[in-house]
């Protein structure tokens, strides 16, 4: 997957969980949670959707590494085949 494809997959995952959020307004360098008001269940649903699209599993201990869109792109890019 290209970096853009990964970014698109992440954005579509965010959109599917919170369709009312304007994706353009999300600062990719800032933590997603406070920007989108997602709780732990939303967060899990986002990770599940990313997992479905990219095949990358994110273990719980790595949750701190996927707090922003940019970090998540880097995380997935390093692991996606």
């Amino acid at each position: 997957m290209t970096e853009q494809e990964i970014r698109d997959a992440i954005m579509s995952s965010l959109h599917s969980v919170a369709p009312e959020i304007e994706l353009d307004e999300i600062d990719p360098a800032k933590p997603i949670g406070p920007q989108m008001d997602v709780d732990s269940i939303d967060f899990l649903n986002v990770l599940m959707s990313i997992h479905e699209q990219t095949g990358v599993d994110i273990p719980e201990r790595d949750y701190p590494k996927v707090q922003t869109v940019d970090d998540t792109v880097a995380y997935i890019a390093a692991r996606a085949s």
Partner: protein, 489 residues
């Protein structure tokens, strides 16, 4: 002849507006089929029918608002034999009725592949019957579309009437990428589409489109697989709003700030939801003599067990701490049934099944507490799946009538916000509400030593007409007890 009535989709609902019928007279329906879309003050809800049969007559037109309990349709019970034979021949034949009745998941006869000849049995797709709503099957028959060629856009991939209609139309919209989202004033010339273009649209978007007078066919979907979302419809109906500062997360965020964000379904809807919540909570405070109990629970054993368990599990199998709390509560209800049921007509009616309402806040503001049905029968994994599904659908407003009407007890977990204690208001006619605060490290004395342990404060708001503090205390102790043996959850 049975009557299908406007269901009560929660204590705060007096009336509902019928938005859409998914069935028409002559359609055979199964218990549990989604037959109509009903708008409440909170959300558009897909309403299931609780008795199978054949739709005889629709009594309420789309757009009409009627009180709870008003008959919406006449349903002839028993689609087989005489009842079905009596059906108007042009609408449903006994064979169709029987076929549908006998095999709920199967398409009408003409959509089912012919019995495979020994030599030609290589069509594996055709033997998997498409899962479709009754209306979709009927529409398919009408326009001669084979449902097995379609991909459903309904929940769980169910083929809806819209899917069939969309598939039967020439491709209606092939908007250039650069076009603004405004609906084209003139229909785009149809472009032949061999595969058929299906309109993928969320229920909320469909509703908004109706409210705002937007033709969904002219809206570019930005959702998954190009689905049209509520936001797309709103954008199509108005020039893009300037970015608004995000409302603060405090409940006192000003109404203007909340109302002006485009994330909100509509100002009126938000106001209606606030009124509905106010009505239910005022009724609760007026009529229910609440008593309140609080209890601190040491979560160290449960969380240590859960972390080890999650370590070796892939994402879909991972369990959140909140699910442990829900599971422990469901099991504790079995020990203390006085917490589970309804207070109706001056007396408490306990229920065996635990339909656990979960308080879910909406990002746009407001609150819905849909139920996980039969939570007592769901193990941790099944419960986690249900919670994820329910939260996801609640926040995208795709709920079903049974989830809105049947909760026997409500649990609210406000832990993500960092509060320590919930002081709950019972949702009538229920008799108890369990509140969990944040699980956090606290100084905790154990075996004569003080150490840092993760602790949660659980509270019970209960109806004094149905139980007393002693019973409530047993209930909280039972939740605690369950959480000390997480491997048995």
């Amino acid at each position: 002849m049975a009557e299908f009535r406007m269901p009560s989709l929660g204590a705060d609902m007096d009336a509902g507006k019928l938005l859409e019928w998914y069935v028409k007279p002559g359609d055979a329906v199964q218990r549990g089929d989604i037959v109509a879309l009903v708008d409440t003050d909170k959300a558009a809800i897909e309403v299931e029918i609780f008795e199978g049969g054949v739709i005889d007559e629709l009594l309420v037109r789309p757009g009409q608002t009627v009180p709870v309990g008003t008959p919406l349709a006449h349903v002839r019970s028993g689609a087989t034999g005489e009842a079905a034979a009596a059906a108007p021949a042009e609408e449903v034949t006994p064979e169709e009725a029987r076929a549908t009745k006998a095999a709920p998941e199967e398409a009408a006869p003409e959509q089912v592949a012919p019995p495979p000849a020994p030599a030609a049995a290589q069509a594996p797709l055709a033997v998997v019957p498409p899962h479709a709503t009754p209306a979709a099957r009927a529409q398919g028959r009408e326009v001669g579309i084979d449902l097995s060629d379609l991909r459903g856009t309904g929940r769980h991939g169910v083929i809806t009437r819209e899917d069939v209609i969309a598939a039967s139309k020439p491709r209606a919209q092939e908007a250039p990428e650069t076009a603004p989202a405004a609906p084209p004033p003139v229909p785009v010339p149809p472009i032949p589409a061999p595969g058929g273009e299906r309109l993928r649209i969320t229920p909320r978007a469909r509703r908004l489109a109706r409210e705002l007078g937007v033709d969904p066919a002219g809206v570019t979907g930005t959702g998954p697989d190009g689905a049209i979302t509520g936001g797309d419809v709103q954008k199509a109906s108005a020039p893009p709003a300037p970015p608004m500062p995000k409302p603060t997360s405090t409940p006192t965020a000003s109404t203007e700030a909340v109302a002006s964000t485009h994330a909100k379904p509509s100002d009126e809807r938000y106001a209606a939801m606030r009124r509905a919540i106010a009505a239910a909570m005022a009724k609760s405070k007026r009529e229910i003599p609440h008593y309140y109990l609080g209890h601190h629970i040491d979560m160290e054993a449960a969380l240590t067990w859960l972390e080890e368990r999650n370590l070796e599990r892939s994402l879909p199998e991972r369990i959140l701490p909140a699910t442990l709390l829900f599971r422990a509560t469901a099991l504790a209800v079995a020990e203390v049934p006085e917490m589970n049921g309804f207070f109706l007509d001056g007396r408490f009616e306990p229920r065996d099944a635990v339909h656990m309402g979960i308080g879910i806040s909406l990002r746009q503001g407001g609150l819905i507490a849909p139920a996980i049905l039969d939570a007592q029968d769901k193990g941790l994994s099944a419960l986690m799946t249900s919670v994820r599904d329910l939260v996801g659908r609640t926040r995208t407003l795709q709920l079903r009538s049974s989830e809105m009407s049947e909760a026997t007890i409500t649990v609210t977990a406000l832990g993500d916000q960092g509060v320590e204690t919930v002081f709950g208001v019972i949702y009538p006619p229920q008799v108890a509400l369990v509140g969990f605060g944040t699980v956090a490290q606290r100084p905790w004395a154990k075996n004569g030593m003080v150490g840092a342990r993760r602790v949660v404060h659980v509270t019970l708001s209960a109806d004094h007409r149905a139980s007393d503090g002693h019973t409530g205390a047993r209930f909280l102790a039972a939740i605690d007890g369950r959480l000390q043996h997480p491997e048995e959850l």
